[in-house]
């Protein structure tokens, strides 16, 4: 009661804590959505944008959704810019040497061929372990739309994924 009237200041944990807790989820999400070739740049842009805004954050109750929202924006920005530049997706997201972020690159290549909304929703749902409520928050849609995006995406993948 008193705390809200005294000031709007919130206690923010050291930024490194966010990075330790969510860095891997953010990177995975970006590898899955923009491809491994662009993921590192998007990853850095995501965290620098978050770091810039961090001290002014007014609500620290769900920092994970907040950082995934920033990552989602960066992924969308990147895909739009790439669309304008008309770079073939395969060229940009070509696999790189060294250890892979994702276990089965083939299936995520299929996910990257999905429409943006389905691709984002699937990556959030399965790689970042997000509930539909969180997907809707991150993508700025209704929960119903979040559910639909995941299900439409899965339906489409099922016609193409054979194991």
């Amino acid at each position: 009661m008193t705390s809200s009237s005294v000031s709007s200041r919130v206690t923010l944990p050291p930024f490194q804590q966010l990075l330790d807790a969510h860095g891997r989820d953010v990177h995975r999400f970006l590898v899955a959505t923009v491809g491994s070739g662009a993921a590192d740049d998007c990853y850095q842009e995501t965290w620098l944008a978050a770091l810039r805004a961090y001290p002014r954050l007014r609500n620290a109750s769900n920092l994970r959704s907040w950082i995934m929202t920033v990552a989602h924006h960066k992924a969308i920005d990147h895909l739009r810019a790439r669309g304008r530049a008309a770079i073939p997706v395969d060229e940009v997201s070509a696999g790189t040497a060294g250890p892979a972020e994702l276990r089965d690159p083939e299936i995520w290549a299929l996910v990257r061929d999905l429409p943006n909304k389905q691709r984002m929703a699937i990556a959030l749902r399965y790689l970042a372990d997000a509930a539909y409520s969180e997907i809707s928050e991150v993508m700025g849609t209704s929960e119903e739309a979040a559910r639909r995006n995941v299900h439409e995406g899965l339906k489409r993948l099922r016609t193409e994924y054979v194991r």
Binding site: P14, Q16, A32, I107
Partner: protein, 206 residues
């Protein structure tokens, strides 16, 4: 049915078990002027230490142990300096090297820029007076109180030294009881003994 399960399983277990290291952000953050507090931890003859640096200089040296775990020290820095706190070991190479040399007995003077913002008023005056005590010599609580401009405030001087955010570098271990006793120490008397031994104030084989 089984095909669907295989698909979802592949998605759920999508992350590789041995992923590549995550890209380091600290240099880019510093270049963008967004790294307010860079920190690193290191092992030393007085145990595990955390060093924190702002663009102004070294702001904190903390002994890490049960009373002050890393999370508590970092939380305090986030609240009192800035929440833009990042691990950036390479940024602390300079301070770490000076500490290594100090413990090896080859450095008698730290040349680090210090950020005094965690100290205020009388405490800051006492600590600045303490910073002037030469290597290998000692002063008393009354002595630093006098140097801080309040000769009679020796008890308050003791409290000020106890809240030193930069032990070792601001050598509060060189302040002893006038009667010859070791007095107190933020990090515990054992650490004070080690530091006094490094400087040759206490004999090495004790």
């Amino acid at each position: 049915m089984t095909e669907n399960d295989a698909l979802e399983r592949a998605l759920i277990w999508g992350g590789a078990s041995d992923p590549p290291p995550l890209p380091d952000l600290s240099e880019a953050a510093a270049a963008a002027g967004l790294l307010d507090v860079a920190y690193a931890t290191l092992d030393s003859p007085v145990g595990r230490i955390l060093l924190a640096l702002t663009p102004r200089g070294l702001v904190r040296l903390a002994y890490l142990d049960g009373d002050a775990p890393e999370d508590a020290v970092l939380g305090d820095l986030a609240a009192r300096v800035s929440p833009r706190v990042l691990a950036a070991p390479r940024r602390l190479d300079g301070p770490r090297r000076e500490l290594d040399q100090y413990f090896a007995g080859t450095r008698r003077r730290f040349e680090l820029a210090l950020d005094w913002r965690l100290t205020h008023g009388f405490t800051r005056r006492v600590l600045r007076a303490t910073a002037r005590i030469p290597y290998g010599t000692v002063s008393s609580y009354r002595g630093v109180a006098a140097d801080a401009g309040s000769p009679r405030a020796f008890r308050a001087a003791g409290n000020a030294l106890g809240s030193n955010p930069l032990p070792i570098v601001v050598p509060c271990h060189r302040v002893l009881h006038a009667g010859g006793g070791l007095g107190g120490y933020t990090g515990g008397l054992e650490r004070k003994r080690v530091l006094l031994t490094v400087e040759g104030i206490l004999p090495a084989d004790q």
